[in-house]
Amino acid sequence: MSIKKTLIATSLALMVAMPALAQSDFPTKPITYIIPFNAGGESDLSARFQQAEWKEHTGEDVIIQYQSGAGGAQAWSQLNSIPGDGYTIMGINLPHTVLQPMEGSVGYKTDELTPVNYFHYTPNAIFVTKDSEYKTLQDLIDYAKENPGAVTLAGSGAKSANNLGQLQFDELAGVKTTYIPFSGTGPSITAVLGSQTTAGFNYATSGANQGDAMRMLAVASEKRLPAFPDVPTFKELGLDIVGGAYRGVAVPDSASEEMRQKISDIVTEINQDPDFIKKMEDGGFVLTNIGYEQMPEFMKKMKAEYAKSAAALGIGN
């Protein structure tokens, strides 16, 4: 970063941060931020983006720790045994924390977790290679209609956000595609790039890393993404698909109302940092700003939505 940019960013950050700091004595020491996944994934990356700005906004560092296992369940099942003093927070994801407890005993229930801020989501998107014969989503739908089941879509994991998106796509477009689960975004994108599958149902963030080697046919966001102004949304194309994986921050249930609000405010504040916004948007993330006040309503909506999809996946019965 150039000196000039640093100066501007710092002064901007200070202007935003000063009032918040003045009225609060929290935090006075580094906060531990647990990521329930391995390092290197989208959850880690977005937390790292936050980490880079964290000190400017709170005056203290944030320390990222990893506690992966069972698709996040390992960490979430232990969330409420952590002291609720606000100095330990945890990343939290949707649809994971709704779908996992539906499937069976995973050591926690959706309502036992306390998300205080969902700050972004990575919208689902359909990708093909740049040489693919499918230039538009309609091309792919037409082919899928003529050849039921023959279109293979690579995605990350079974019963995941990608899998949910693919099912929704099948239903709304009136086609039948075959979903091929891979053990993560990396392997599934590799399969798409290598033309092992017809296309991929992945996150839009992949589009940012692979440059023009892949073509994004449609993205499951409300509006077009700033980083991909030429890619239409599913909505524009007449398919009401909006969603992907949501990521946020949760606290132990013993945290006071005041503490929940404070953590939520820090996350919201970083969400307004121009540097942070630029990195996230360049990366294909979509910022959401769902703070603690809006949480009950948001969770209600999402749970209803996932309950519907879960039936299609054969979960919870």
């Binding site: 069972a70 279109v151 990396g186 590799t190 890393n209 692979q210």
Partner: protein, 677 residues
Amino acid sequence: MELLGYFLDALTPFNLMLALMGVILGTVIGALPGLSATMAVAVLVPFTFTMEPASGLIALGAIYTGAIYGGAFAAILVNTPGTPSAIATTFDGYPMARRGEGGLAITLANLASVFGGLVGAIALLLLAPPLAKVALVFGPPEYFWLAVFGLTLISALSVGNTLKGLIGACLGLMLSMVGVAVVGGDVRYTFDVQAFLGGIDITSALIGLYCVPVILDLVSTRAAHLKVNADVAKGGLRLREAMGIAWRSKFNVVRSSVIGTVVGILPGAGGSIAGLVSYTEARRSSKNSANFGKGEPDGVIATEAANNATVGGGFIPTLVLGIPGTPPDAIILGALLVQGIKIGPRLFNDEAQVVYTFIFGLLIATVLMLPTGLLIGRYAYKSVVSFPKSLLVPTVAFMTVVGSFAIHSNIQDTQMMFGLGVMAWVLNRYGFAPSPIVLGLVLGQIAEQGFVQSYLIGNATGNISGMFFGRPISIGIIFAAILTLGYPFFTEWRARKREVQPLTERAMDAEAHPANLQPKSATPGAPRGLDAGAILLAVVFAALGIMAYVATDAMSPMGAVFPATISVLLVVFSIGLVIFALLRKGSPSDKGDPAASTTRRILLTIIFGLWVFLIPVLGFFVAGLAAFGTMMVLAEHESRPAKTWLIRAITAVAVVAGFWWMMADVLLLRMPMGLFF
């Protein structure tokens, strides 16, 4: 010449210092089982935010390459791969150390690692864009066949004992299925225990399967852990001799480095597969293949050259395609993004300065590994050799606990490690070696995912057989697998024709490996007794197989196909073993060293068990210190003056406190707190 300019950029004092520190730190962390390159790289990422992107990358790359090399130390000295990449290093490295050639093994590992690392990095420098295409032509069927190829190594690892090896592999494959399946999403074989949901962690399983039996055998005898005579006589690390061996094995070194680079390019394969594949190839093409697994220097060379070559190889898809080849690559990719650097096909043009400075930094770090690796290796070897048993046993035990815990900050991994370790000791006693189990565990998921994905794609496109058998690279791998499987039979047939002693018999006569540390008690030619223990175990396995098969009923078709196949195989092999054993064919179990103290062994198991289950109650430090002290007393076979005990007690506190500090404050792990800390 632009490249020269970038080379000079990499040579600034600051970058050189980063490379040096990175290699040292990486080697130390890699040497400790369970503390992985991924962890070290993740901890350092925030520090690189404030550096120039290229400098930050150099630091991270240096740590990564150092850690992969460091993994060899624990593999050679205590039979425990410090990282999964070093699995195959244990096959020959540990037997070498046992017979007093640990110093030579470490030096060979160092030379091979440096060479492999250079080949990988040079490939990254000169050939990255074309080589990246390798990652793309490898589809699900190729991954499936690659895993099958890896499994053929079992036939080599269990010469004269093939049925037991196959049963071990099936057990490993079953273990790999525990947890939530990637394909199908079924929850399999968790027995409703939440701890099993995440599956069995490979690294902690490795630590348990390889290291716990070593600890149990260590405590039971008076004999020193490693012989030292040969090394002492020839002066420590025997660099000159090692260079001679490496030079004679130059084809092995080059072939293994190339295999490592190519396998490294495949996202989803990684260092452990690279090591296993090149080990298999080295064994097949060697004149001394009977000596592999008994302390053959070429085995160490092949593995170590290959696994360090994966570092450079893994960066190829990371930097060219934006697809991380290995977990540390994924973190480094994230660090680049945080720096605001756009990854992807244009990176080599748009950010040439960053990329090339980094690659040269990686090359420099690899070269620096030569002196630093030898120095650290010398020190590690000396400590293991000179540590009295009463300190070595608790220290190694403590390291297994630290390592298995550190991976996910999860104490359940440690408990699983301990359980698997005790199981491995019992199984090994009856001739079921740990390596086939490990192979099954490591390759199981790759094989299953590749198989089911291939089947799904083949089914969708109406060409299942073409998917599996019609792709050129698949055919090549299948051919190599058949060659590996058939070659020993061919050489044996040829040997019998020429009336020389066939390979299988020579291999059985050679000093036994791996944890069959006991001298052969049965005199050759003595009548074979009934292998009652193995029969009993085989009956248990057959029952397990039947239960596992019944359980597939409740799974989705996608999730059931693999467990059903493997459980049927397990039943068939187990019944076969019972029949063979009743006919008194096959090799009998080793009865073990009669001088070994069973009481000490059982007591150690009890202390170890109490330890891993009391950590959540007492806290990591207190439980560790208590267990350390008790084991220290248990492992001492002589009476010692009070002063010795005082020194040892101080050492105990220092070791436990040192590790606690490193885990809690350096690696920033979440430490379990109980009543105390």
